[in-house]
Amino acid sequence: MKNLLILTMIGLAVLAGCSETGTRDSSGMPNPDGGSGQGGSMARFTVAGNYLYVVNTHSLNVYDVTQNADPKSLGKVTLGFGVETIFPYKNHLFIGTQTGMHIMNLANPAQPQQTSFYRHIYSCDPVVAQGDYAYVTLRSGTACNTGPNRLEVVDIKNLANPVRVSTIPMTNPHGLGIDGNLLFVSEGDHGLKVFDATDPLNLRLLKNFTDLRSYDVIPGNHLLIVTGRDGIFQYRYDDSQELTLLSKLPIDNQ
C-alpha cells in the first residue's frame, strides 16, 4: 500500500513537474494598453505594469514592454537555486524557489531588489497572496525529497519580515489560488480542497472534491478554472460557497 502511495506520488511529480499556478493581484499595478491577464501560482511569466518578468531556474529576466509589441531585454537578476514560480503582489514579486520565497520590491521595476527571503524546507512551493497573508504549498514531489506536504500561511504585513502563522497538513498540494474568502488548493490526484479563508489564521476546510484531479487553479469573478489530468474544468462559486460545474474541456484521447 505504501509502495502504491509512493508510486502515485512519483506519477504526480512526473506529470506535474514542480511548478504550479494560482491567482494574482491586479489592483496595485497600472496596466495601460489593455492591461495584462491572469495566470496561476505555477506561472514563470508575469506582466506587472510595463514590465514582463520571466523566471528561469537561476534568475529573473526583466523586459520592458511599454510598447507591447516590442519587448526589450533589460538584463537579469540572479536568484540562486531552483526558481519555480512568480506571483506579483502589492508592487512586489513573490518568487517561489525550492528553498523558500523571495520577496522582491519593484520600487525600480527595471531592477527588482530583494526585500526579504522566507526560508522553508527543500520543496516545490507555489505561492499566492491576498491582504496581509501569503499562502505557500510545500510538496514532497519526489521520493528522495520526503519533507512534509503542507500549506503554510505567512503573515506579510511587514514584507521585510514574513512570519509563518499557520501550517495545515496536506496530501499532495500543487497550485493554489485565493479569491475573497475562498482558498482553492489543488491536491494533485487527490482532488481539490476549498477552504474558508475568512480568518487566515484559522482556515476552515469547506469542501474536499476527492475526484477532481487538479494541478492548477485560477479563481476570479466567481469563476474557478481548474486544470488537471482530465482536462479543464470551470466552476461557478458564490457567497454560499457552493461550486457548480459549468463546463469541461476533456482530454482528447484519439
Binding site: S19, G34, A69, I218, R236
Partner: protein
C-alpha cells in the same frame, strides 16, 4: 549551470535508493545489469529553423494541458512543449476552441494588450493575437534562455540532452538503455 540540476552517474548512490522506491521492476534492474532498459524520459530534438517556425492551426486536440492564462474573454491553455490552445471563454459554460498556436518547446505565457509572450525553447517571442486565427510574430528575442537540458519533471531519470543533436523541444517517455541523467 545544468550541473546543479542534473546528476550524472557518479551520483548513482543517490539514485539507487530512489529507484528502490519505484517498485520491483526497477529494484531488479537498477543495481547490477550493465545494459538495463528502463522507462525514462528522452529528449525530442528539432533544428533551430524548425523550432523557430510558429504557425496558427485550426483547433487541435487537448492532450497534455500545462499552464493556463486568462485574458478578457480568452483562455489560453499550454499544450506541453507544443504550443497554445486559444479558447473563446466569453461563456464559461460553453468554452470554444478558436485556434492552436504551434510554438515548439512552449511552456509558459503572459498577455499584455493584444500581445502574447511565449517561450519558444531558447527564444522569447511576442505574438500579435488580435486575430486568433492569424497570429503574427512581431518580435523575437534570441537566446533569451539556455537550451533546455532537462525535463520539467523531478525525480526522473532521463537520457542526457546532447546539444549537438539540436534543441530539445519536449521530453517523451520511452524505454532508454542506461539513462545517465537524473533530476
Amino acid at each position: 549551470m545544468k550541473h546543479r540540476f542534473t546528476f550524472h552517474l557518479p551520483f548513482r548512490r543517490l539514485v539507487v535508493p530512489f529507484l528502490l522506491l519505484l517498485g520491483p521492476a526497477c529494484r531488479q534492474n537498477a543495481e547490477e545489469e550493465p545494459d538495463r532498459q528502463v522507462q525514462a524520459l528522452r529528449p525530442v530534438y528539432a533544428t533551430y529553423e524548425e523550432v523557430a517556425t510558429i504557425k496558427t492551426l485550426g483547433p487541435q486536440p487537448l492532450k497534455s494541458p500545462g499552464k493556463i492564462y486568462v485574458k478578457d474573454r480568452y483562455l489560453f491553455i499550454n499544450e506541453q512543449g507544443k504550443g497554445v490552445h486559444v479558447i473563446d471563454n466569453a461563456d464559461p459554460a460553453r468554452p470554444r476552441k478558436l485556434s492552436f498556436i504551434s510554438v515548439p518547446g512552449n511552456v509558459d505565457m503572459a498577455v499584455k494588450g493584444t500581445i502574447l509572450y511565449v517561450d519558444n525553447t531558447v527564444d522569447l517571442v511576442a505574438l500579435d493575437i488580435s486575430d486568433p486565427a492569424q497570429v503574427k510574430v512581431v518580435k523575437r528575442i534570441k537566446n533569451a534562455y539556455p537550451n533546455p537540458s532537462y525535463p520539467q519533471e523531478r525525480g526522473v531519470q532521463f537520457e542526457c540532452a546532447d546539444p549537438a543533436r539540436g534543441i530539445v523541444v519536449r521530453w517523451e517517455t520511452a524505454m532508454v538503455s542506461n539513462p545517465k541523467c537524473y533530476r
